[in-house]
Symmetry: D3
Subunit: 274 residues, 6 copies
């Protein structure tokens, strides 16, 4: 190949970030600049200002041809795209099921080596709050959105077993500036820890098909990443600093309230939507 360009100074030549206009996507655009010569950002929503090292692309994930074009020349993908809350099934079908298939089908065709996939703790949210889940806990989706994430974990497993396309499934908890309610004291993932988790997922030499919980080092734990320690993710933050925001009362009386009894919290009652 006749390639006059100077060799890349950064680890990746081109990374793709989908869902780049969303809450978490916006957190990643900065850090990605240090990891790849070119960062291709995509979303169905406007992407704002585009930096010199970025390629921006408005894409509907359900549009197969567009997705195949989007994956061209990409080394690895951070796939945050699609719907991340409970939604009518037909919407999830388009973005999280068909859309995800389009991403994997295109990635395999284009020779992409790895996808960091935003799964969710809602894939296992119907486990009770009195258990601590390992990464091999049985799937217990707590809403149709959670079911769509179970689909994604199964699809990506298949692409790894069949084609060697590696995936890290991030079962992200609640990643915001700060917890918004007492439950989020348990599921909180700081932005800094989120970015570190993505970094580990991209740079660990081998990941196979991995599952890891995306939570900070909070005091109360419903999940246990021991078996994912090969990723080297060590959260730096904790929701402990936010505990005073939610003064603790006596436990509420109603043992039969699913939103209090299951890890998914209010999501367990959110669906299905019409």
């Amino acid at each position: 190949m006749n390639d006059d360009r100077p060799q890349p100074r950064k680890p990746f030549r081109r990374l793709l970030l989908t869902g780049a206009a969303g809450n978490l996507g916006r957190q990643l655009r900065g850090p990605l600049a240090a990891w790849a010569d070119v960062v291709r950002v995509s979303d169905i929503a406007p992407l704002g200002e585009v930096a010199a090292h970025e390629e921006a692309s408005i894409v509907d994930l359900a549009d197969r041809a567009a997705v195949h074009a989007l994956l061209e020349g990409v080394d690895a993908v951070v796939h945050l795209g699609g719907i991340s809350v409970e939604a009518p099934f037909d919407d999830l079908l388009q973005s999280n099921i068909l859309g995800l298939y389009n991403v994997y089908s295109a990635a395999q065709k284009q020779g992409v080596k790895r996808i960091v996939y935003a799964s969710s703790n809602h894939a296992v949210g119907f486990h009770p709050v009195t258990e601590v889940l390992g990464i091999d806990a049985p799937l217990r989706p707590d809403c149709l959105y959670g079911v769509s994430k179970c689909f994604g974990e199964a699809l990506s497993r298949y692409y790894f077993d069949r084609f060697g396309l590696e995936t890290v499934c991030l079962r992200i908890g609640s990643s915001f500036e700060a917890p918004k309610n007492p439950r989020m004291l348990v599921t909180f993932l700081s932005y800094r820890d989120f970015i570190e988790l993505v970094r580990c997922s991209l740079f660990t030499n081998r990941v196979g098909h991995a599952i890891v919980y995306g939570v900070s080092d909070n005091r109360v734990k419903w999940v246990d990443n021991t078996k994912a320690a090969f990723l080297g993710f060590r959260p730096q933050d904790s929701s402990i600093e936010f505990e005073a925001m939610f003064p603790v009362g006596a436990p509420t009386a109603d043992l039969d309230d699913p939103a209090q009894s299951f890890q998914g919290g209010p999501f367990v009652l959110a669906g299905p939507m019409e």
Copy 2:
């Protein structure tokens, strides 16, 4: 209550059988007559002669309104409908994903109590042939069809956890008159054992969300139903009587042939189709 109608003589008032025109559906129409006053049979293909106790209905599972009508007045469902081999994703999306959602959504609305769901051993077919899988083995789909079955197991789990709608997921092996190749000596499920498995799944008083492998009592075993013994399924048949059909040679040399190394056999190489 003043109810002048004669009481039903059979355990179920109305059972729905989807996929009734298929290979396994045809095996069940006879036995179902003994279990329900009315058997509603449906398929996208012609259903043949309709018996007096049957209600026949040609339905595309992707047609939500038609599926909701189909589920009206039904006590329980044996859901064999949809695609049961590797197929292009867009076809699986319609029949096995959207179609299945339509079935569960309608069942929940109509107050159906239980669904016997034809899952498949292809949901776990990427496990090697040198392991014996319990019902809690991690999902390892071996093709996109298998991925669609993983979706179904997750969706039905959700409907049980959320609404108490019970499901037995039958991970059916190879159910034919006789095994067609050496691999099927391991995965063989006789028609008689298949019918018994459906009977157990319908009549066991409580099933919750259960998973069970559909195999006869074959000599070689890749799966172990110990943890599903509460269903009371005891296969009566075995592929041993067919072993002479496939004279055994020395093991083939190629350890790298996935079709020989994984439980899914040739399915592991079948997909994805375009």
Copy 3:
């Protein structure tokens, strides 16, 4: 030692059977005759006709001195005594807790080598009917009677770890001539199998502190004795022959009925009594 007596012709010199006047005790008096030169039988109720090889003793297990006398010169004990249904706590306290302590305390003092202890499936009856329990399943007593059996399993464990006094805890299901209701099709233990289970428990050379479920080879299984296979218990009978007594209907609708949902059946609602 100068011992002119003829050597015993039977394996044991003296066996003690407590609860000998009860339903299961009566089944054992015959077989025990073949296993020991002397069979000491005791109960709080009348013991009927006493055979030549028997020593009969009316004993209240809560009477420590009487129990110590009862254990004198005994090689091994089959302890069926005490209450075997839900009862007011104060009654259980006397017969199943204090009474059991008296038996173990006396046995240890008298150098008894082994006790076959009638525990109960009600020690684990709050597990759901959709699980299959190994012998290491967590304790889930379904009534105060079940709690008293958990006490007995812990007490006997202590006497083994501390003094080497061996115990086999028989978690007996429903041992009658025939099942009395549909649930007993699952928990049925024929008299013949019960006797065989006691025989295995007495004659296996080493048992340590063992737990084993007392059920026949019924079609539906809630328990799994694989880890107790060193006892050599192989049931010969099955409730299958009684299945026709209880015609199966469609599953009942009420998922919230504990008596249908848990292995303990109606026991889960029986206690506590006043």
Copy 4:
């Protein structure tokens, strides 16, 4: 509702502390003041000075009527009462078995929501010192006192499964100002950590029936609370600061000394007492 009373300023309206005159009870009376408007303290021994927010009550736990009166109007209980060392069985029977039943029976009748129950590491003390126990380790009581704690764990499990009355079983190690011997370097629980453990047990929104080891963050560990991390207990102290008190010699030679070989230490030889 027309309720003129000022709303309580503290999370609990009324907490009951049993065993309040004992070593650990005395540690808790101060902290409880901050958690409840009224703290009812009870013991069989004199309770010392009674604070303004306290209600004091001398109660023998074996006195059922007195215990029922004691539980009236109580939100939650910290139950430290009863005997906490090896003792004659008849004493344990009164205080730790009958007494505990009285507490649970009364709590259920009075609508108490939660009990924090002082179990003990002596419920599992016959495990060897070369194992690390999870909260699901099999029961191995090392003395009759330990057997009485096994009874308590089973009884409280029953009340949770049957009535939804929640319990946290604290398997407390050695909670003193400082370790008193080398073994206590492993089992040490500082007073501060003990208080924090009770706090977590009272304030975690849902606990179900939980088991947790009460040990500080000591260097050597025989127990592992990973599966109880939903309680949020993070010890702040460690016996490391006391290690110099017990200069380490070469390991002693006698592998057959039970007091050196089992986690229960000298307790394994303490019982049974007459």
Copy 5:
């Protein structure tokens, strides 16, 4: 290739049987005739009459050059050679350690595809007789001979992971015409079942590196082959027919007798020899 020879009529072209002059080797020479065109038999002892289809070879396994010659042109090996009882370490070192390395090293060089390796239950004989071992039980050799079998299992694992050379490790119990003592009622493997086990090990299409216990379907079980069911081994015989040879007495009193307490029986006291 110009190969005028008629194609082989039997599954294997050439099988090697080592230890062919031993007790079990002699049982196999007949059956092997049906499985291979040529059966190469070897031993350090005289091999008796040599059949037309046999190639006989007196080889000391410690003689590397001789072993490499022995493996030439072989498809698969049944390796029964070496010492099969407790022996001085220096003897085991030559035949079971150096000798085994020679076999594997030569097999790998010669392109042999599979070795059926006579391991032993003495690799796990220091487990107590009150446990039932799966094929993944931790190694607990009960003598130096057992240690040499642990070496063999590790060495063969390495050759599989490194070179794909498959091995089935047969943990053979007591294979004789009939049990010789009460312990052998548990460990008995009939000659017919032994031959069937070797047949399964040779003919199963893929075995990877497998471990399986060689015992008949005896009444008492210390081992459980569930996880090896992919081999299709179903014993036809049982020691039940021999039970009358060993009248059962009361259990012997001495819990501290290792020969009674551990699965290895008298082997646990046999070594080390000088």
Copy 6:
């Protein structure tokens, strides 16, 4: 006993350090001075300057008589001797197999109480880098050297079960001044942590037959010492401080490179040597 000698001021009377001239042996000679009155050091290579408290001895471990002399009067052994890299089998046979037998045989005869044995992570190096191994992970040696360490773990287990001779098997990773390549960032064990691990192994009162991984508190973890926490080993160092030495690039493409895929790294391709 009439013993005029002053009592030893140090915990051990005489410790033996084999392999004292090697990389790790040299690290230990200093610390051992504080733990024993006499430190006997041995190697096959020159031992350098001998301190006043040391006894030096040049010994070939394959020389049985010399090894028996070496073990005389020893309380405990730190056995680092033998070969610690891949080597021709005949060399490993002499030093790591025969040599190790000589050490254990002599230790048992001389009444030595404990051996700290340098096993290796290469005993389990054929596990993939995407797993986290507990101390009970199945053996997966990655080279013949690793196989010799499996032999050592089995041999030492036997000596513990048979004679009560305790061993701690240290599965040492990469113990150097600093990591030498990216893989060693995971397997790094600082000298300080190595010394602490030996200290814990010698001074813990009971160790039975223990296995523990020798790694510092590195960011990426392939192993988990939770079940060995009874040893009290808490690493103080981490390879994090060395991470900058090995700038991370994008993951390499070749999933089929065993040296990248397995925990053993390049060792998996090193053997067998001729």
